[in-house]
């Protein structure tokens, strides 16, 4: 289980608990985090679950695989600190992770 803090597009901060083994995207969608569309439900095919990771966390996350990397490259609002939240599985090690949701996924 990890407590993860999302900063929604309007600046609202919301902390939610997500169980181990779920993806961060799943936790966000179930808790109605605004701005995580996740149209493909985690199939790494829509790139509408993108989040920004603060510098102090970025290197602590598991590395991107090649398909996440190439999906991200073509995201409209991508930044060097972007990740696809459906590709991040929750573990205890992510407790306290802070994520920023982009203004739009389109």
């Amino acid at each position: 289980m990890a407590k993860i803090v999302f900063e929604e597009p309007d600046g609202t901060k919301r902390a939610i608990d997500i169980a181990n083994g779920q993806s961060i995207m799943e936790g966000a969608v179930r808790n109605g985090i605004v701005g995580i569309d996740a149209d493909c439900g985690g199939a790494c095919s829509c790139a509408t679950c993108m989040v920004y990771v603060p510098d102090d966390w970025f290197d602590r996350l598991p590395a991107k695989d090649s398909s996440e990397q190439s999906m991200l490259e073509f995201c409209p609002h991508v930044q060097p600190n972007s990740r696809l939240s459906c590709q991040l599985q929750v573990t205890d090690a992510l407790d306290g992770l802070r994520l920023k949701v982009p203004q739009s996924q389109q």
């Binding site: 493909c40 999906m71 389109q106």
Partner: protein, 396 residues
């Protein structure tokens, strides 16, 4: 108090509609009626990870029950809508009760096309997969009738579980409705390499116990599953006198010819600008997009921009991602080698304009093409097939 907004069919379109209505500031009461005993769930994993036993049931659900019940909304699951009384503005449920509506949204989806083969199974909902999984665990052989993407995903999962699988497709090639011949040939090779027997041009005549009888051969099977396409659930709409033409006819706002009734998802037929004609799409993207469009119309908000349609299919370690509508192309351009390995893309052009892509383990081709198709970009085919030109640099 005003009558509620009623949604018939509790699938992915319905779930997205409720989320988008909330975002768009909808204040009224919502009543969601669904005939399955489940909260809205995602169907794609049914023929993929859920079938394989790699994804638990609760991870299929889009949202928790509380989401559908908050703020005066009601969830009526396991209840079938029998009839629409348009004059009286009410839905008649299976138990005879009347559910008045102010606005009605039909999100009834589609169902498998049935073949006259008694004893054959189908793959559409959770109950189907649960029945199928129990049988697959005990089976030595499976015949899949229909070489569309659902049948092929099933074949991929079953052969990995140690079942002998034969796919019988009546057309001369696999997934003929969805992809071009180059891609069909690739999938025939892929499944062959993985140990699945593929028979195209196979005319199934009947099912005799555990024997599938074709025109020129017979196949014994412990399990027979039909994946022969889907038919839209349009009966409620047709009986209520709404315009139906393959799917329920809707305008650009997803409104039917009755101004207080909308329709979204697999059950609809809508004019598509990219195709230049009316068509019925069966995809998650279409269900979500139409839900967002209908929510905006209901709330009087500006509609979201129409996106390029897209779809995906997972078979073995191969992810195919498709964007656009390839019907009517006059040129197909291949990038990469479809005869070796498992990674290539086919671009479809009409009069020099990119209209669609089938990308096999090629996320950049898929993502970049989505943008180019939306821009109606004209791309030099010699660049498209030249792997030394990166997809990022494909804009001429």
């Amino acid at each position: 108090m005003a009558d509620p907004l009623v949604i018939i069919g509790a699938g992915q379109a319905a779930s997205q509609l409720m989320a988008s209505l909330a975002q768009d500031g909808f204040q009224g009461e919502i009543c969601l009626v669904g005939d399955e005993p489940h909260l809205p769930y995602q169907r794609p994993p049914l023929s993929k990870k859920f079938l394989a036993g790699e994804l638990a049931l609760d991870r299929l659900y889009v949202k928790p029950a509380a989401f559908y019940e908050k703020a005066g909304s009601r969830l009526l699951l396991g209840q079938r809508a029998q009839r629409i009384d348009r004059a009286g503005r009410a839905v008649i449920l299976g138990d005879g009760s009347r559910l008045p509506y102010s606005t009605l949204v039909l999100a009834t989806g589609s169902r498998p096309r049935e073949l006259p083969l008694p004893g054959a199974l189908y793959l559409r909902n959770i109950a189907d997969v649960e029945a199928l999984r129990a049988r697959v665990a005990l089976a030595k052989s499976l015949v899949v009738i229909g070489g569309g993407y659902i049948g092929l995903e099933l074949a991929a999962v079953a052969v990995k579980l140690g079942v002998g699988v034969t796919v019988l497709e009546q057309a001369p090639r696999l997934m003929a409705r969805g992809v071009g011949p180059v891609v069909s040939n690739f999938y025939a090779r892929l499944h062959g390499e993985e140990g699945v027997t593929i028979r195209t041009g196979a005319m199934v005549r009947g099912l005799d116990g555990r024997r599938v009888v074709c025109e020129d051969a017979q196949y014994d099977a412990d399990i027979v599953v039909v994946g022969a396409g889907a038919v839209p659930n349009v009966e409620l709409a047709r009986e209520a006198g709404l315009a139906v033409e393959d799917g329920i006819v809707v305008d650009a706002e997803c409104r039917t010819d009755d101004a207080s009734i909308f329709a979204i998802g697999d059950c609809t037929s809508q004019h598509h600008e990219l195709a230049g004609r009316r068509l019925r799409l069966e995809s998650v993207h279409n269900a979500l997009e139409q839900a967002r469009i209908a929510a905006a119309a209901i709330c009087g908000k500006k509609p979201p921009a129409v996106q390029v349609p897209w779809f995906w299919s997972d078979q073995y370690d191969v992810k195919m991602q498709m964007a656009g509508l390839s019907a009517g192309h006059d040129q197909a351009v291949v990038r990469g080698n479809p005869d070796i390995g498992r990674s290539f893309a086919v671009f479809y052009l009409r009069e020099g304009t990119l209209i669609a892509v089938d990308a096999v383990n090629r996320a950049p081709e898929f993502m970049m093409s989505k943008q180019l198709i939306a821009e109606r970009a004209r791309i030099d085919p010699s660049r498209l097939c030249n792997e030394s030109v990166a997809m990022k640099d494909m804009r001429n």
